[in-house]
């Protein structure tokens, strides 16, 4: 699971049947301080995460297959939680 920030979403012209009805969001992986790490990835979101909200991103394909109820889905990334303000130990 990784920390990420929602930086937008995509609209598709054609898609795998299993993606019907699910929102696909653009997730920017970030570190604990909110700095960007790498290139944005796409994920399925069924929690309704808003723009620039911090989320937890899971890369568990089997959980996603169960969620969309299609064992043939090619989807893997899934938004599994919306993050409250992060608490960190002082170093």
């Amino acid at each position: 699971m990784n920390l990420a920030r929602i930086d937008g979403n995509i609209v598709t012209a054609a898609h795998h049947p299993s993606m019907e009805g699910y929102r696909t969001v653009i997730c920017q992986p970030i570190d604990a301080d909110g700095n960007d790490e790498g290139v944005p990835v796409l994920a399925v979101d069924c929690l309704g995460a808003g723009l620039h909200e911090r989320v937890i991103l899971s890369t568990d394909g089997s959980a996603t297959r169960e969620l969309v109820k299609d064992p043939k889905t090619p989807l893997r990334n899934l938004v599994v939680g919306i993050v409250d303000p992060i608490e960190r130990a002082k170093s």
Partner: protein, 107 residues
């Protein structure tokens, strides 16, 4: 799933049965800058920004993406999920993108 621009197509004479009737695309993954300027979408021609650095890859496509389209593709184990039984496929085109709504957080 990642986003990439279709920069070419491949046809095969000899192929594994799983590749019958499908298309193979050469795809260049989008760089971060291209998320904001993916000019390839809506038939505006190839992206106005130079292609991202890094290697392109071959993606199995059943949706019919054309050259210049932006697609979302999956890699790894999930790329073989849409097939019945084992399939020698590394990357699978899951969607053709029509619009990207991208607003990176301003620092």
């Amino acid at each position: 799933m990642r986003l990439g621009t279709v920069i070419g197509r491949i046809t095969l004479t000899q192929k594994e049965p799983v590749y019958e009737g499908a298309c193979l695309l050469i795809v260049q993954p989008l760089s971060k800058a291209q998320f904001a300027h993916p000019g390839a979408i809506n038939g505006k021609g190839p992206t106005e920004l130079p292609l991202a650095k890094g290697s392109s890859l071959i993606v199995y496509d059943q949706l019919g993406a054309g050259e210049g389209s932006v697609i979302g593709f999956t890699e790894g184990a999930e790329a073989t999920q849409p097939f019945t039984g084992p399939a020698p496929v590394d990357a699978y085109a899951a969607c053709i993108v029509e619009r990207i709504n991208y607003e990176p957080l301003a620092k």
